[in-house]
Amino acid sequence: MSSFALVLLFSLIFIWYLTFSANRLDRLHHRVETSWANLDSILQRRAAIAREIAHLREIDPATNLILIAAAHQARIAGISERSEAESGLSGALKHLRDESDIPHIHPEPFKELDLLTDRLRTAIAIHQEAVRATVNRRSKLIFRLFRLAGRAPLPVTYPFEDDVL
């Protein structure tokens, strides 16, 4: 009798632990979704500024094409190719900033770009940390054994090159 009670107690504790763990993981996934959504909105804003710059009167047709194409690539890229596509846009913007006199003629969009770049760095750091925590947790035996992650896709990191910015 007492051994039965013991088994019951342990299985109750175990079930509690499973729901507790599933809750934790659910929360972590939500964290990743939030950090990604915020990162995404900053990237969208950046692409919009890039298009704005592309349509300035002083921009030559070749640069216009490069910027528009890079911004378009960044917009249509899937989540796993996103970082690479955004790097292309970063490169194009950086080139324009360093090699042309457009930033002197039109400082406003570039000032906003600088501000955005700072926020972007922070957003990436926060997203990376959220992804790392989630992936770490999901790799634990109990989570894989009991499929606590359900059908949620494994979050992907965003290996944005800091120095391109």
């Binding site: 809750n23 934790r24 939030t34 915020n38 926020r119 750091a125 940390e129 947790r137």
Partner: protein, 389 residues
């Protein structure tokens, strides 16, 4: 935006974390946001700020070389729940959530957009983080973490295996820059020290060991010691003929502190460790004091690796003596350091730091998300009833 902040330490006890929360709250209020702070208090009647909600009396425990007053328990938990429920915050900012006090409690109770700021730097003090495995499920609820310095960030990485964004503590630069110097302190070369001087890690003992050498090279030098503490025992270590060089000022108010930092020629920070940020150095910089500080990583960071002040080898009294004499005898060097320091201090002004913190709030939140009281126990009940049904 509606912001809730939680202090782990008693509001009516002076401390760096409390001061930081207060300034941050004032900054956000000034910027048009709504702020409510939940904090323990020794005497609830003594809390005068209308944005502070008290959560009960804390208990004293020794921590990180000082006494920390913290609060935990079912009564505090109820207050946290009521406070969160009543306020419907957009974001909850928890200060020092790894310390078993009110912030950790709030972090475990609340669900939603939460940001944590880690102030402490204790790379070697394992015991403070012995409960790390228990903390993990709670700390991972934070959407974003802020460390006040690289040292604090390292502490976090080592003990809690999590990364953080570094945002320094803020100061009101103009408050210090515009204080009126006190005439009687500017006549001779005055060296200032500020802190709880009977705590060994504040390093006053080093400064006193350097005093005979300083007095020999700069006969007119005086040392002003500000801050709470018992000075009699320390005085025993000073040769009797030099005792008149020291003056104890006792605890200073914020206004007195600004006047003090504005008046002195050299500010000395001989701290031997346990410093996470060194806000006092940023304040001394803003006030335009020439600085000599120990070469702790946190201090080097604030001082721009020596650009805004001189440093000496930690715990080396003779090196401290050399640096003070060097600075004391060279008015040009003092002037040069002062000028650079005043500029450098702008980096720590709330007008720089505040927007950075606000940016973190935005990044921690999904659109139209609110902070709620956690529903874990209820979901567990739902799970049970569904099972039986």
């Amino acid at each position: 935006m509606k912001i809730g902040m939680v202090s782990p330490y008693a509001w009516d006890v002076p401390g760096g974390v409390q001061a930081h929360i207060k300034d941050l709250a004032h900054y956000f209020q000034g910027a048009g946001h709504e702020v409510s702070v939940l904090a323990p208090a020794l005497d609830e009647a003594s809390v005068s700020e209308d944005f502070v909600v008290t959560a009960g009396r804390p208990v004293a425990i020794p921590f990180n070389g000082a006494v920390a007053r913290v609060l935990f328990g079912p009564v505090a938990a109820t207050r946290v729940r009521q406070w969160i429920h009543k306020n419907d915050f957009d974001v909850l900012h928890l200060h020092e959530p790894a310390i078993p006090s009110l912030s950790l409690l709030a972090c475990s109770i609340a669900e939603g957009p939460m940001v944590g700021t880690f102030h402490v730097a204790a790379p070697r003090q394992k015991v403070a983080f012995a409960i790390a495995p228990l903390l993990e499920p709670v700390i991972e609820k934070l959407r974003a973490r802020i460390a006040v310095s690289e040292v604090a960030r390292e502490t976090l990485t080592i003990h809690l295996d999590t990364d953080a964004v570094v945002i320094p503590n803020g100061i009101t630069v103009d408050f210090f820059a515009s204080a009126e110097p006190k005439a009687e302190w500017t006549k001779v070369l005055t060296i200032g020290f500020l802190g709880r001087f009977d705590e060994p890690r504040k390093g006053l003992e080093l400064l006193l060991r350097a005093l005979p050498g300083i007095a020999k090279s700069i006969p007119s030098a005086r040392i002003l010691i500000a801050g709470p503490g018992e000075g009699l025992e320390l005085m025993q270590s000073v040769p009797p003929n030099l005792r008149n060089r020291l003056e104890f000022l006792g605890r200073l108010s914020e206004e007195e502190k600004a006047v003090f930092l504005r008046s002195i020629d050299i500010y000395v920070a001989p701290n031997t460790g346990g410093e996470s940020f060194g806000i006092i150095l940023a304040e001394a910089m803003a006030a335009g004091a020439a600085i000599v500080a120990s070469d702790l990583p946190a201090f080097l960071n604030v001082l721009g690796s020596g650009r805004y002040g001189l440093t000496f080898r930690n715990e080396d009294a003779s090196d401290l003596e050399r640096q003070i004499i060097r600075l004391g005898q060279d008015a040009n060097l003092r002037e040069e350091l002062r000028g650079r320091a005043r500029e450098g201090a702008r980096r720590f002004d709330w007008s720089e730091v505040g927007p950075e913190v606000m940016n973190i709030y935005h990044l921690a939140r999904a659109a139209s998300e609110r902070v709620q009281v956690g529903s874990e126990p209820r979901s567990w009940l739902r799970f049970l009833t569904r099972d039986e049904g």
